[in-house]
């Protein structure tokens, strides 16, 4: 109906309905299913494509930690922004004329539903671990990059449990399979909250990535753009130097797959509510994040490799 309130939090059903609505409104937007979660919920990706086959692409995902509701909400605002700006905004138009864009707004749907129905603080997947009373794996420790090393927990009851083996979580495996089969993804941005950071690899090792200087410069520009809107202060740098050692992380794997422009956001915590960000801050968060995302996407478009 076009009445979707982007400034409010929504259930998974409402979000999926809005994805259908975007698809119905814009001919260059398509909803594709890349897999399903442990509890058999579909993993829906919006594909923004104005033509051509297997064009270079940019990947965005949100909500891999289910309780970080501002990320799923921001992803929806961003999806609508991309769709509505094509043809009117020169930057987005030129981007989509050259590249495809994939957006996964709810990367952990089981966890997301669980945050609505049982435990608002749930962060992990909902997979059952044989022999354990505890449920779920941290999907940002389950990737095949330094898997199981320091910076993740082997205790299945921990919030940072890495899982029994790399890609054990179907939510992770689905993205891995998609990225590999696509083969032409040039930028990968994973959106988390909170703590106001823009991070690039690595998290599992102190060894700097070969492209560190370029990634640092792009981060600086992106953060400057983000801060220009509401003055939100961001820090940026590699995961291990900026926050803490984290092994098995998403963007360490994507970088090792050859996706140079691999970043992860930690969105704002203005208001000191952490990932319990009040709904009135969804749109400002999305707006400022969008400015930084645009810098990363434009840099990718203009520095094709």
């Amino acid at each position: 109906s076009g009445s979707f309130d982007f400034g409010a939090y929504h259930t998974l059903d409402d979000i999926n309905s809005e994805l259908d609505h975007l698809v119905s409104e814009y001919s260059f937007v398509e909803k594709i299913q890349i897999g399903e979660s442990y509890e058999k919920r579909p993993l829906y990706v919006l594909k923004f494509s104005t033509g051509g086959s297997n064009r270079p692409a940019i990947w965005l995902d949100a909500g891999i930690h289910s309780r970080e509701w501002v990320t799923q909400a921001s992803a929806l605002w961003i999806a609508n922004k991309i769709a509505s700006d094509y043809g009117t905004d020169a930057s987005i138009t030129s981007l989509l004329d050259k590249m495809d864009l994939f957006l996964l707004p709810v990367a952990n749907p089981d966890g997301f539903v669980y945050t609505h129905t049982s435990n608002r603080m749930w962060r992990k997947t909902r997979s059952k671990i044989p022999g354990s009373i505890c449920v779920g794996v941290d999907p940002n420790r389950n990737w095949d990059a330094g898997f199981g090393e320091a910076g993740a927990s082997g205790n299945s009851c921990s919030e940072t449990y890495h899982g029994p083996y790399p890609n054990s979580e179907p939510e992770v495996k689905s993205i891995v399979d998609f990225v590999k089969s696509h083969g032409n993804i040039k930028a990968f941005v994973s959106i988390h909250s909170y703590s106001q950071l823009l991070l690039y690899p690595y998290g599992y090792t102190e060894t700097p990535v070969p492209d560190q200087q370029e990634l640092h410069e792009v981060s600086a520009k992106a953060v400057a753009a983000l801060s220009s809107l509401y003055g939100t202060k961001y820090k940026y740098g590699s995961i291990i130097t900026t926050i803490y050692r984290a092994s098995g992380g998403t963007i360490d794997w994507t970088y090792n797959q050859g996706i140079k422009y691999s970043f992860t956001f930690e969105l704002r915590d203005t208001g000191r509510y952490g990932f319990l960000l009040p709904a009135k801050q969804i749109v400002p968060t999305a707006e400022e994040t969008w400015l930084a995302l645009k810098v990363i996407m434009e840099h990718t478009r203009d520095n094709m490799y």
Binding site: Y9, M121, C157, I243, L276, P278, A279
Partner: protein, 96 residues
């Protein structure tokens, strides 16, 4: 539905590596059932931790005994969650 009545979220600011190590020790104490929203890693980054009601006093006592600075980020988590739930319900009603 799990409730979080009396759960507090503390923001802890460490001054040196020794204090970071003390927090890492705290993190390893599983019986406290702490949920670190931001893990202890470096002195530059504050640590946020959700503490179940039964562990609040123990954790505060630990921090104070070590001279580690903290502030209360969320006094009662359930209050925040109730407010959020109410906002969602109102928003859904408006849409209808």
């Amino acid at each position: 539905l799990e409730t979080f009545v009396g759960h507090q979220v503390l923001r802890i600011k460490t001054k040196n590596e020794e204090e970071v190590k003390q927090l890492q020790l705290l993190e390893s104490l599983e019986h406290l059932e702490l949920d670190f929203w931001i893990n202890p890693s470096a002195t530059a980054v504050p640590v946020d931790v959700r503490i179940p009601a039964v562990s609040v006093q123990s954790v505060k006592a630990f921090l104070e005994s070590q001279g580690i600075e903290y502030s209360i980020l969320i006094e009662d988590l359930q209050d925040v969650l109730d407010k959020e739930k109410q906002d969602m319900a109102e928003s859904a009603q408006r849409q209808r």
